[in-house]
């Protein structure tokens, strides 16, 4: 509006100025007594005035052009984040005269890119303006076969995960993942990441999956298998894992050349599934993680990690002992080898991962004596991408139980994944388990076939490597 009034002002001024000049010219011309000598400077003046009028007219045209540019570009700014750039740098039309028939107009024409964005992409960009990236991932699982220890439903929409991700301000971004399951709604993660802290610190605050090993950090839909390994269920809280409200601080640490070393320290409230329970406010749990990574070549790399977690458990609640004395200490070590040839990265890749867990859980023995139960578990999995659409995988599982380490469950799985596109996948998994049957006091075998359909709507941000 301001621009418009300025424009009309210029137009008005120029026309009135022109009119004035005209009248003064005619006024000067009327007396016939004026000598020939006087006409020469007169003409010079007229020419100067004409020149002035022309400049004014050009200015009007220029302003009009600019106004048009502004109108054209206003609804078209597609990414809010890059506005600064647009403002600080001037875009000019193409300058290679030899290549295209030069159509450089006398007035600065709107840059072709902007004009195009305006006429075609406008609606889409507008819809996204300032809205977070929204996605929904549907995870449908079917199970057939025999499993008397931990039976799952025949068919279920296991989870619908809504993801909301956005840049909050110049200093932070936020990610929220809300999972709608068969039994209710759960904020799986919801945290803000401060990306611009001094001293290379990365701070996350909110509810998040703890940086404890590898599989604990992975969302259900991003798992290499339909289910989580046995050891997750036995020792580290199952599907939800260590997922709690807390604060996380991480930093790159000095390391030898070409090695990547990162340390993470996290403090949580102390309530995570059945692993940690906070009986008092001060019963916070802590998690520490060290990650060491190195490229062994452009296609191959190795990723090592060590983690520690500590929190309170419920073993002392309702006994004569002080519940505050019952702790669970968890340790884990993980090693991943990845191979992906860059020239054929969408066709072939290989991943081998091993993860080991140790649990030390304070509890009461059947004779009501305070004891610490030491349990160990591991999984080892391998995935191979056969071609653009098919991936093969296998996993070996072995784990003691947190409350009774002498009961060891064993299992293995084979999986075949088909990718119609990047945005959906179809899987079939065979799972065998040699599991301890507590009520009958003996081992029993489970043989199951699982299948899964995963689909992604909207823009789901990339997962960490």
């Amino acid at each position: 509006m301001k621009r418009f009034s300025a424009l009309s002002l210029v137009v008005l001024l120029s026309t009135s100025a022109y009119a004035q000049e005209k009248s003064s010219i005619s006024g000067n011309q009327s007396p016939p007594s004026a000598g020939a000598a006087a006409t020469a400077p007169e003409e010079v003046r007229i020419r100067a005035l004409e020149e002035q009028v022309r400049t004014l007219a050009e200015e009007v045209a220029l302003l009009r052009g600019e106004l048009k540019t502004i109108r054209d570009t206003k609804p078209a700014d597609p990414t809010t984040g890059t506005r600064l750039l647009l403002a600080s740098t001037r875009i000019e039309p193409g300058v290679l005269p030899s290549s295209t028939s030069s159509t450089a107009p006398p007035i600065p024409a709107p840059e072709p890119q902007l004009a195009q964005t305006q006429s075609y992409g406008g609606a889409t960009s507008n819809a996204k303006l300032l809205n977070p990236d929204i996605s929904l991932i549907g995870d449908f699982i079917g199970t057939a076969g025999r499993n008397t220890i931990s039976p799952s439903r025949s068919l279920e929409l296991h989870e619908s995960e809504v993801g909301l991700q956005a840049i909050i301000d110049p200093y932070a971004r936020a990610d929220a993942f809300i999972s709608f399951g068969e039994t209710g709604v759960n904020v799986e993660e919801g945290y803000v990441t401060f990306t611009s802290l001094p001293a290379g610190l990365l701070l996350k605050v909110g509810k998040m999956r703890a940086e404890f090993g590898k599989v604990n950090t992975i969302h259900n839909h991003a798992l290499p298998f339909i289910d989580r390994p046995l050891v997750s269920n036995n020792l580290v809280g199952g599907e939800d894992g260590i997922d709690d409200a807390g604060i996380s601080l991480s930093r790159f640490l000095p390391a030898p050349k070409n090695w990547f070393l990162q340390g993470t320290a996290q403090v949580y409230r102390g309530d995570s599934s059945d692993v940690f329970t906070s009986n008092r406010r001060q019963d916070v749990s802590v998690v520490g993680h060290l990650r060491l990574y190195r490229d062994l070549g452009e296609s191959t790399n190795i990723d090592l990690g060590g983690s520690y977690a500590r929190g309170h458990n419920t073993a002392g609640v309702g006994t004569t002992f002080d519940p505050a004395n019952f702790l669970t200490n968890l340790y884990s070590a993980d090693a991943t080898l990845r191979w992906k040839p860059l020239r054929r990265s969408i066709y072939h890749s290989f991943l081998l991962r091993n993860e080991f867990f140790w649990s030390a859980r304070d509890q009461l023995s059947p004779l009501n004596v305070f004891q610490t139960q030491h349990a160990f578990g591991l999984y080892s999995d391998a995935e191979y991408r056969v071609n653009r659409r098919w991936t093969l995988g296998g996993r070996f599982d072995r784990s003691g139980r947190a409350t009774n380490a002498s009961l060891t469950d064993t299992g293995f799985s084979g999986i075949l994944t088909y990718w119609p596109s990047e945005f959906s996948q179809i899987r079939g998994q065979y799972r065998y388990g040699h599991l301890w049957d507590v009520p009958n006091d003996r081992y029993t075998n489970a043989n199951e076939f699982l299948f899964q359909f995963l689909f992604v709507m909207g823009a789901h941000g990339a997962h960490p490597f």
Partner: protein, 316 residues
């Protein structure tokens, strides 16, 4: 009691750890005063090098022979990004699958989206194939903001270079004259080279070709090629038998003699199409560094045009 003590002790240790994190390694002091530039792709690195000359250190995340849609966000890239003064990206959601986590984990405030050190090259280029009407993934992996392979038009190369010149001058005003001089030289050389390239391609103007992915619209527009079909049924969707049969029919009808394939796609389907139609498969390089000899922006076009000329001449 013992346990409570341990809790406090552990908390103290953790706090100490946090402090050590913060102070143990102060940000590495910079001996040289070169600007550190990271780019998403090698083409942007080549352009930044043209303008920055010896006043900059430039490195690309993706390699020239790699599919820029699918780069892995390896932690080793974080080590490079954390010290960068400037990050140049292709934009238009080309890097959406891998760059955002790298940026947010880099702990480098300078290159965060919207910060002065974040430079989206698509802002300066002429963008083609901006989808009209409704945009859905029924169209495959569409880019709602337009085709991101825009660097394959020398005119866009020059526009981006100009943007880089302005950005570098803004960051290092003391070297503005140097960058301006380098840009002028680049402009002059590029215009000369472009005249030569256009002259070389002129005899083949309007020739019909098929490409694997939609990587070449800017190239085709600039050099007068006519892209009439794609090996992919939709962007990002692998070839399907039905589409391949249709494509073979279309190529026979239209007399298409060339199938252009990027170096990161499998040649099985293009080869079988070529056998059926008598066409020739040409692996063209969409990026600097796709082959060892393609060391800069000029050699990229030199290479591709030489390949095309040779292919056109042998398939008359």
């Amino acid at each position: 009691m013992r346990r409570t003590k341990m809790t406090t002790r552990i908390s103290a240790i953790l706090a100490a750890c946090a402090l050590i994190f913060a102070f143990v390694s102060p940000p590495a002091s910079r001996a040289d005063s070169k600007l550190r530039i990271m780019t998403a792709t090698t083409d942007l690195a080549a352009l930044a090098q043209e303008i920055g000359g010896e006043k900059v250190d430039v490195e690309s995340v993706a390699r020239g022979y790699q599919d820029p849609h699918f780069v892995e966000a390896k932690p080793s890239f974080l080590l490079k990004l954390r010290h960068a003064d400037l990050l140049i990206v292709v934009g238009l959601e080309l890097e959406i699958g891998w760059l955002p986590p790298l940026i947010s984990q880099s702990t480098n405030p300078k290159i965060q989206v919207g910060a002065p050190g974040y430079f989206d090259a698509s802002r300066f280029a002429k963008i083609l194939e901006i989808p009209t009407g409704q945009v859905t993934r029924a169209e495959g992996d569409v880019h709602p903001l337009g085709n991101p392979h825009y660097w394959l038009d020398p005119e866009n190369g020059l526009r981006i270079a100009k943007g880089i010149r302005d950005k570098l001058s803004e960051m290092r005003s003391s070297d503005a004259a140097y960058f301006a001089q380098r840009y002028d030289s680049f402009e002059q050389r590029l215009k000369q080279a472009d005249e030569k390239w256009l002259a070389e391609m002129k005899p083949y103007a309007g020739r019909k070709v098929v490409t694997y992915h939609r990587s070449w619209p800017n190239f085709a527009e600039h050099f007068g090629l006519n892209v009439v079909g794609y090996v992919e049924p939709r962007p990002g969707i692998p070839p399907s038998p039905q589409h391949t049969v249709e494509l073979i029919g279309q190529m026979k009808r239209d007399g298409v003699k060339l199938i252009l394939v990027e170096p990161y796609f499998d040649l099985k389907t293009p080869n079988s199409i070529a056998r059926e139609t008598g066409a020739k498969v040409v692996v063209l390089m969409p990026s600097v560094g796709g082959e060892k000899e393609i060391t800069d922006y000029f050699k990229l076009f030199d290479y591709d045009i030489a390949k095309l000329k040779q292919a056109f001449d042998t398939t008359k």
